[in-house]
């Protein structure tokens, strides 16, 4: 581990340790913006850390930024850090300036594309984007669509666009944004912009799931060693040991898949590696959460214990930016189209 990375992780762990407390998480779920926590993250420039210096970033390695994101998920931090990071990366890729403050992205499915048009004062966007993460609390959203036959990426202000806020299972806001010829702050042509937004998002969620799984496993090991039944710690029972061994396998696989995707995506997301990562971490999220709760018994089913901050995120994130089925089907179609003989060369090329 590089010294710089070590310092970075120490800093983010300190910030989350101090400011990502239970009351902060609960208030965030009630709809309150965690201002102090976000302010601390802004002060160290975490949301922009991996952007080039001319884009307001610190020029950190993408890997370092993703490790910091993983820590934020380990701490179940209720902030749009992933969204700000990925919005910034998309804007830089399109050659656009990155505004200050928390950012988000508004992906839409193929059948409900946003409509882009050129007006007198510039380009506008119209249409609805559902379940935009933190869309009611971020001042700007990155949107993608087609303008005059070319894929474009644009930046739009969210003020006045929020029509309602749903929550994911972790209580994180997912807003309905409606745009009616809303002017784009900036836009540029960007080949594959819509798929790229989805893939960048899937990469971030994979990394976050790896972090949340790590925490859920730690809680489970700790609980199994502390909880005494039949006169001994339940960790001493073979049934519990084998469940936790399987859990460790899921966590190790999720980490390996997320790491591989990060490594393959320094400048732009590698679709194969990200598909593998989102599918594998998503599967681990379900299987791992199940074991975590089984080991914790009734205690893990309470609001008092902290396990749910991790598992409710896992149950949410596995379905965001494409679930396992979405990415596996894409992968399977690609492999089948290329043929069985192409599989091994593909696997060994990554």
């Amino acid at each position: 581990m590089s010294e710089m990375r070590d310092d970075l992780l120490k800093t983010v762990d300190r910030i989350f340790g101090d400011l990502c407390t239970k009351p902060v998480r609960e208030a965030a779920e009630a709809g309150e913006w965690p201002a102090a926590l976000w302010q601390a993250l802004e002060e160290v420039g975490l949301g922009r850390a991996a952007l080039p210096e001319e884009a307001g970033g610190a020029g950190l390695d993408f890997e370092d930024a993703m490790l910091a994101l993983r820590r934020s998920a380990y701490h179940a931090a209720p902030v749009p850090l992933a969204e700000t990071m990925l919005a910034g990366r998309l804007l830089v890729a399109a050659g656009l300036a990155v505004p200050q403050g928390a950012l988000t992205v508004a992906p839409v499915p193929a059948e409900r594309r946003l409509a882009f048009a050129r007006g007198a004062a510039g380009a506008t966007v119209s249409g609805a984007a559902r379940r935009v993460p933190w869309g009611n609390l971020c001042a700007h959203a990155v949107v993608a669509g087609e303008l005059e036959g070319r894929e474009v990426l644009g930046l739009v202000a969210t003020a006045g666009a929020a029509r309602g806020v749903e929550k994911n299972l972790a209580g994180e806001p997912r807003a309905l944004l409606e745009f009616d010829a809303a002017p784009l702050v900036a836009y540029a042509a960007c080949a594959g912009a819509q798929m790229r937004m989805l893939t960048e998002g899937a990469l971030c969620r994979s990394v976050q799931m790896a972090g949340a799984l790590e925490r859920a496993l730690e809680y489970s090991l700790q609980y199994a060693n502390e909880r005494v039944q039949f006169g001994r710690a339940i960790a001493k029972f073979q049934a519990i040991q084998h469940m936790l061994a399987q859990f460790a396998g899921q966590v190790a696989a999720a980490s390996a898949a997320a790491d591989a995707a990060i490594e393959a995506s320094p400048l732009a997301p590698d679709e194969f590696a990200v598909a593998v990562a989102k599918a594998r971490t998503g599967e681990a999220a379900g299987k791992g959460s199940e074991i975590a709760h089984q080991v914790h018994g009734a205690m893990g089913y309470t609001r008092e214990h902290n396990l749910h901050y991790s598992t409710r995120r896992l149950w949410s994130w596995r379905d965001e930016f494409g679930n396992e089925t979405y990415w596996q089907t894409r992968l399977g179609r690609m492999i089948a189209a290329r043929g069985a003989d192409a599989l091994w060369p593909l696997l060994t090329a990554i």
Partner: protein, 382 residues
Amino acid sequence: MHEFRFEPVRMPAAAEALRSEVRAFIAAEVASGAFTPSRNSWSSFDAAFSRKCGARGYIGMRWPKQYGGHERSALERYVVTEEMLAGGAPVGAHWVADRQSGHQILRYGSERAKRSILPKIAAGECYFSIGMSEPDSGSDLAAVRTRASKAEGGWNISGTKVWTSSAHQTHYLIALARTAPKEEDRHAGMTQFIVDLSRPGVSVRPIYNLYGGHDFNEVVFDEYFVPDDMVMGEVGMGWKLVTGELAFERSGPDRFLSTYQLLLESIRAVGPEPDARSANEIGRFVAHLATLRRMSTSVAGMLGRGAQPAVEAALVKDVGTAFEREIPETFRHLIAVEPTLGAGASYPELLGMTILRAPGFTIRGGTREILRGMIARGLGLR
């Protein structure tokens, strides 16, 4: 708590060059009709193929040149191994000798053992079996009852080993035997010996497997004499040696590629435009496979750095063998054929053979339950 770290490894350029070379070699062998890509690569015994591998420097790759080795890296060896398995090459004859026995001899064998045996293994001419399990000692390996008693210039071994794969075709095995009575420390008093199967005092009897194949054997020792210079390491240190040997058995690509040929044939069977369900399952297996390969190469990297990643190896084997076993269970739902008894020449036969072989995947080299116990220990639970 033990932190499971699967540090990434980057394949060096030399390993990637070697990959192309091995791939071309396998393609040429298949084209010449030397072998048909096999359904159970590392269980297919083919001495002629092993000699070709030896001549090309694909056996004993990490060993010193003075013992016939090639002084190549752990990752170069890994690449050769995975290419052979993915290509369905019949590597079964030299598999155990190359994977584990040779390492043991290099590390713990006498100079005579090293000089007389290792060059022949590396040439693809000398094959080994594993001498661990016994009728009353399976997962509980420390319960071995095979005894070795001191004699003039060596040891006399008596006892029985079972599930001894290929002992009717191999030249040697490394036997774990008790050299002192059981004490409170049940791991004390055991020793490993190199056993030459051609010498008197040892008999080999087949144990046919569930589909009638002859792979397993029972090997009986009756006052079988082993000279002192065929003792491995120090007398009484056998437990330490055998657990080290098992680490080489557990993390390699042989622990997740056993059903790879069925995956390939299933992809062919569903065709270039599969339905959504088939595409989803294929994609899931590819995601698992890519991830397992990364974890397994990471363990190869650790072994290459001289680390002892026993728990990581157990974890890769547990996750890997679960994956191997899922492949036939999933495709039988997607491709509606009735599995058929046979050598694997058609899809129904390949599916049938894979179903019949699958129970072994989570038993051989340490059962799933033993591995999970090791992982639990690594997690600080016991």
